[in-house]
Structure formats: C-alpha cells, structure tokens
C-alpha cells in the first residue's frame, strides 16, 4: 500500500491538505465535484479576502499551483460514491464525469467538503430573498464587487442606501442554527468598506445583534469601517422586509434606542451564515461519519483534536466540520495532512507484522 491519502473536496482546505501531504512525501488523490478547483471561494465569486482585502483569485491560484505536481492526482467532475476497508487500507469508489466508477486505494481519507451559504428562503417571509431582486446575500454582493461595481439588481442603478443584516441563518434558535458562523461580521464590514469606496455618496448601514470581530479584525476592519468609511453600525433586530414603491422597507427594532424601526433601503444585503454543504452531508453518509446536530462532520476529540472524525483514519479539514474562517481552514488542513500520513506510516509496520 503506497502512502496515498484520498482528499475529498478541492477548495482551500482540500488544496492545502494535498499540498501538505505531497510536501511530506506522500501521494494524493484529490476528488473534486466541480470541473475546476477552488471550492466555494471560486464558485461564489469571492473578490477580496477578509481582513486585508487581498485578491481571492490570486490566493486561489497559489493554492492551485501547490497541487500541480506529480504526487497529486486531481480527479475533476468526480464524486465519491462508496467506501470500504479501514484505517491503512481503504478502497474508495470514485465516479468520474462519464459516470464510470474507479476504485482508489488509500491509507487515509481527508474530508474537505466545506460549507454552503445559508439559504435565506428557508426562513420565509422575513427577508424576501426570493421576492425582491434588491434583497441580496453576501456572496451576491461579492460577485458584483469582484466586477468593481455595486448596483441595484432591479434597475442596474447604483443604490443610495444599503443595509447589511447580520446573523441571517446564524445564532437563531428558531431555525435550529444556534451557532455563530464566525466570518459574517468581518465579511460584511469588509464589503461595506468596498461599497463606500466605490460609491462615496451611498449610505451604508450594518444592523447587528453583536458585532463579533475575532482577534485582530477589530482594528483591521471594524474601526476603519466606522472611522475612515463612515459605515453606520446599528444594534437592532430586523424582523421583516417588504416592498414599498420601488424600494425596500425594512422593519424591526432599534435595541439601543428601544424603539421600532422602519427605514427605506435600495439594497439589503443578508449576511448569510454557514451550513454544511450538500457534499458534506452526502460524504458523511457514504463514509459513515458521525455528524453533529447541525449536519457538520463531528470531531469527537474537540477542542484538542479538531481533525479526527468518528472513523479511524478519516480526518476532517476546514468548514466541513463547522463554521471556520480561512485561518482555521488552512490550519486544520495542514494538521489533517500530517495526521493522515502519520496514521498510514504508523499502521504499516503493524500491518506487515500481522501479515507475517
């Protein structure tokens, strides 16, 4: 058995894990559902990365370059459909673009199937995402910002007022997502800065429950957004968005002032949180991995071991295990690579002994 690690998912976590396995002398088979590598940052058209506003495309290009080497075999347009065996000796069936199945032998598996953005239509009525074109999401805004423009989808005209609503699909007991998605406060503030740079006459508001600016984001994004770019942060709970003429009426409560809130906006950006991707939900079933109550892959050894899943020899990296920012994603990817190769190497002598 060669020191092969099968990695499922070609986003930042999968790419970084693949590079790390190859750097450590192992071999990788990288399985990606789409026809291109890059994962959600590519699929959702991420423009600038939080907090430094570096180019997402350039960052992804560097990650892609890291797997352009003979030790890494990339299977695009492919999905894992079955798995048998155990640590040190898995046989994984991969279905290719033509539907043909191929069996891959691997000593360990890294799951890096990531997250999907919360579907704001699930919490119906409140947000009108499927009713009003000018209600958009963080990734919708990101797509426009990538093209260096920001307009009302209904008219193509630049907006005069934009509101971000935080915690859409996160920290919400009613819909069962009690967790914080960790990145939305930073990303919304970053996008608010970008909109103010593009449209200096546009008023930008962020309606929040709490702003959660982890680590250095406080100084890197939060204060500059207010002090340099005049983004208005309003502590309040938005309860409903309705159409009013050709604009959007946002209703809710200003919890600082303790009074009802009704304001007209041109564009409303929903700061949608993270949920397990379809790939994450499906791979959990195929590999027999325990999931937590939200459908993410469970890591029973947390907090000291956020990598190991409930199945020995199968590790999880990035946002397949829960809401993760890019820093955590890259960190867990490297750790998963090391653990995967480590378990193969420690299993081999034992297997040889057993065989003898």
């Amino acid at each position: 058995m060669p020191e092969t690690v099968l990695i499922v998912g070609g986003g930042p976590a999968g790419l970084e894990a693949a590079r790390a396995v190859a750097d450590l002398g192992g071999r990788v088979v990288l399985v990606e559902r789409r026809e291109v590598l890059g994962g959600t940052p590519d699929e959702a058209n991420y423009a600038a990365l939080t907090p430094h506003l570096g180019s997402a495309q350039e960052a992804l290009d560097r990650l892609r370059a890291g797997v352009g080497r003979p030790e890494v075999e990339v299977l695009l347009g492919s999905t894992v459909t079955a798995c048998r065996g155990s640590v040190g000796d898995f046989t994984v069936t991969v279905s290719g673009p033509d539907g043909a199945g191929r069996e891959v032998g691997a000593g360990a598996v890294v799951v890096a199937t990531g997250f999907t953005h919360f579907d704001p239509g699930r919490e119906t009525q409140m947000y009108g995402y499927y009713e009003f074109p000018d209600v958009i999401t963080l990734p919708d805004a990101e797509k426009m910002l990538k093209e260096h423009r920001f307009v009302r989808p209904s008219t193509g005209e630049p907006p005069r007022s934009v509101a971000f609503i935080q915690c859409v699909g996160s920290r919400d007991r009613r819909i069962g997502n009690e967790y914080c998605s960790k990145v939305c406060c930073g990303v919304a503030s970053k996008e608010a800065i970008e909109i103010r740079r593009l449209l200096p006459d546009c008023k930008v508001y962020i309606f929040y429950i709490d702003m959660r600016m982890y680590g250095y984001w406080e100084n890197q994004i939060y204060w500059p957004a207010q002090e340099q770019y005049n983004v208005n942060y309003i502590r309040g709970i938005v309860t409903e968005i309705v159409g009013k003429g050709d604009r959007l009426l946002m209703k809710g409560e200003d919890t600082t002032m303790g009074r009802p809130l009704e304001v007209l906006m041109d564009v409303i950006v929903l700061s949608v949180g993270m949920e397990p991707s379809r790939g994450t939900r499906e791979i959990a079933g195929i590999l027999g991995l325990e999931q937590n109550r939200y459908g993410f892959i469970a890591a029973p050894g947390e907090p000291m071991d956020p990598i190991s899943t409930s199945v020995p020899g199968i590790y999880v990296a990035g946002a397949a295990a829960g809401p993760r920012d890019l820093e955590d994603t890259m960190g867990t990817a490297g750790a998963a690579a090391a653990r995967a190769l480590g378990v193969i190497r420690s299993a081999r002598p034992a297997a040889a002994t057993a065989g003898a």
Binding site: R122, G176, R281
Partner: protein, 397 residues
C-alpha cells in the same frame, strides 16, 4: 415594483442545485404515531380521498376532500354567519359528504390568548374532547376558526412533549366517556379551500378578471406552529403562505400586494377586548389605508373570523374621520361561493358585513337589488310563520 424575473429565477435554480434543506424542526406527526404505537392514544386517519399539499419546509400534508366533521367558529356563527354557510355551500356544490355537529364546544382559546385565563390541562381537555367527538362520529375534523386551528396545533405539541399532561387529559376524557384521539393532521378549512381551488375554478360562473383583491394572511394560521402552514413556490416565490392567495389566482381575480401584509389585522386578541380603539386604528391605518394607497383593491379576502370582523367592522370608525377606507372584507370561502353563483344574502349573508359590499357585487356582475328583494321575500315568509328557518333548498332556489 418591477421584478426582473430572471434574477429571481436564477436564485430559485441555484437553490434547486443546492439540494433539499434539512427542516429545522422535527415532524411532530411522527411522534403522534409513535405515541399511538405505544398505546397512548388513537390516531384518527385522514379519510380517502385526500389531496397532498406542501408545507413550509417541504413536507406533505394530507387534506381530506370530504367526510369531514366541521368544527365551527364562535365568531363566525355569531357575527358573520355567511362565512360558515359558504363553507358548507361549497361542500354541497361539490357533492361532498360532511357532518355539521351540534355538540361541538368552543375551543376557549380566545380567552386563553387574550387574558391568559384557563390552564394548559383545561385547554388540552377541550381540544381532546372535540377530537374525541369527531372520532366517534366517524368524520375527520375540519376546523373553521384560525384561532382554534392554531391553538389545537399548540396543544398537540404540548401533549406530545409532556407525558404528565397526557395523563391528566386522558383521565378527563375517561370521565367524559370520550376516546383519547389525536387526528393524523390538523386541518383548517382554508387548506381545504386551497386544495380544492381548481374544482371551484371549474364551477365558476362569474368573470372576475376585473376584480382586484388584497389578502390578509391570518396570524394564527401562519405564525403559530409555522412549519404546518401551506407554502407553494408559485405563490410569492414560496415566501409567504399560499392559502387564500392561490385561490384568488385560481378564480381568475387579480392578486394585489401591499407592504403591511405581514401585520396583524388589529384584532390582537387582547386588544379587541381591552384596547379596542387601538384595534380600530391599527386595522384602518396600518391595513386598510395602506391597501388602498398601494393596491386600491375591490375587496380584502382573509381566512379567519377575527380578521374578517376586525378589518370589516373597524372601518366605520375611520369613516367618521374621513379616512381613506371603504374596502369590503370577506372570507375567501364567501368569495369563491359568490363566484360559483351562491346567493349573496341567503348563503353568503353579506348583510351582516359592515363596509359597503354592493359596488363589489355590481363589479362582479351580481344584481344585488334583485337578490335583496328575494331575501326580503324570504323574511316575509319567516315573519308570517310560513317557514321557521331557511333551508338549503331555499338557498339554492
């Protein structure tokens, strides 16, 4: 507001690609059946034939077509009797079998919501007493009142969650000599109207293409136990409940939107009892005036007792202050019955309604003067003692 459909269609498509979402709530009906398997209660099955409808998180709900036990509404019978009569008339028009029981009790939920009177055990016992009565009749409950419907669904949750409450209520039902029964589905009449809307459309005799309609969705229908309300991707993108709105469209009338659709009608349960001026103001300033300003409807349709009475009967107060009111209000069952040729007085009993409905009838092509003359003849017959009450034969004469 112009809506470029390609933006929204693209979002729906992307949503489809993402695959089905996991509903955030458990399906309580599974628990109801689990309790039956443990011998805790009887589950009354939805009778065949039934129609499948989709609820908020994509689950299928069974709506029985006929053979239903009609749990009437206190407020409908007391204030707007044409509401219940229209529901029965629609069943008769389709030749459906139903039971109109004489021993149904009030659900007592209005007091509970308005004043926090009563207690959980008593409330649940009333619900189970009525469910038991329906089961004994062999007919499946169809609930006319939005308050009863919402309340019974809350009661179902409480009974499923609390074994001690089940024990308490089971003892009460035993003493009443009633079986301890939970229906497989809790069905509101407006869900039946929604499910049968195409049948009504086929029997429509009036052209409604020039009738503009606004819809008020009832709070106790879609805000209590939200996952059990009907949603349809073809109605407002599946973003608000489809009942009533889908009926308007099916009947060929024009569905018009307005910005305060989500707001309460003003009834508020407590407010109508202890702060009625607030109710009157809210109903007219936040609902009727906004509708007139933004949609200028010919009629407001809704699907609950309190909503019809509040939206209709509050307008007299605002009229005295020269506010921009004067939109007739009725249930979608009355509107569908009118569209199918029901008598506006003998069946729909619009003379109980406060706001002037006659311009609407004229626009719908109904000769209300002639219909009123017929109704006055009926009254003369009652006065002379020739008849004691009107019958279905009189209604359809």
């Amino acid at each position: 507001m112009p809506i470029p459909l390609n933006v929204l269609e693209a979002r729906q498509l992307a949503r489809h690609v993402q695959g089905p979402q996991t509903p955030p709530t458990e399906d309580i009906r599974e628990k109801v059946f689990e309790l039956e398997a443990k011998g805790e209660w009887i589950v009354q099955r939805v009778p065949e034939p039934w129609l499948p409808v989709t609820t908020k998180y994509g689950r299928i709900k069974k709506i029985p077509v006929g053979h239903t036990w009609h749990h009437k509404s206190c407020g409908q019978c007391g204030h707007i009797p044409g509401y219940s009569t229209s529901i029965f008339w629609l069943h008769r028009a389709l030749g459906l079998d139903y039971d109109d029981p004489r021993d149904q009790t009030s659900c007592t939920a209005w007091n509970y919501y308005a004043s926090a009177t009563s207690n959980v055990g008593a409330q649940a016992a009333v619900a189970m007493r009525n469910f038991g009565a329906a089961y004994e009749s062999g007919y499946f409950p169809q609930i006319h009142c939005g308050t009863s419907y919402g309340h019974y669904k809350e009661v179902r949750e409480q009974l499923v969650a609390h074994a001690d409450l089940r024990d308490e209520v089971r003892r009460i039902c035993d003493r009443l000599g009633r079986p301890f029964v939970m229906p497989e589905e809790i069905v509101h009449y407006s869900e039946w109207v929604y499910a049968m809307r195409d049948e009504f459309a086929r029997r429509r005799v009036l052209d409604l293409s020039n009738i503009d309609v606004t819809v008020h969705p009832a709070c106790h229908y879609h805000k209590l136990v939200v996952e059990d309300a009907i949603y349809d991707p073809d109605v407002y993108g599946g973003q608000r409940t489809a009942v009533v709105s889908a009926v308007v469209t099916a009947l060929g009338a024009n569905l018009k939107d307005y910005s305060t659709w989500y707001d309460c009608c003003g009834f508020g349960f407590r407010h109508i009892l202890v702060q009625r001026d607030f109710t009157r103001s809210f109903a007219t300033l936040r609902k009727i005036e906004v509708m007139r300003e933004e949609a200028d409807p010919d009629v407001v349709l809704t699907h609950d007792t309190g909503c019809v009475t509040t939206l209709d009967q509050s307008q007299f107060a605002a009229r005295a202050h020269d506010r921009k009111v004067g939109v007739p209000v009725m249930s979608e069952s009355q509107f569908a019955a009118l569209a199918m040729g029901a008598h506006p007085y003998r069946v729909c009993q619009l003379h109980w309604h406060n706001t002037d409905y006659r311009p609407l009838l004229e626009k719908m092509g109904i000769d209300w003067r002639e219909r009123w003359r017929e109704f006055e003849d009926d009254l003369e017959r009652l006065k002379s003692g020739e008849k004691q009450f009107l019958t279905w034969e009189d209604a359809d004469a």
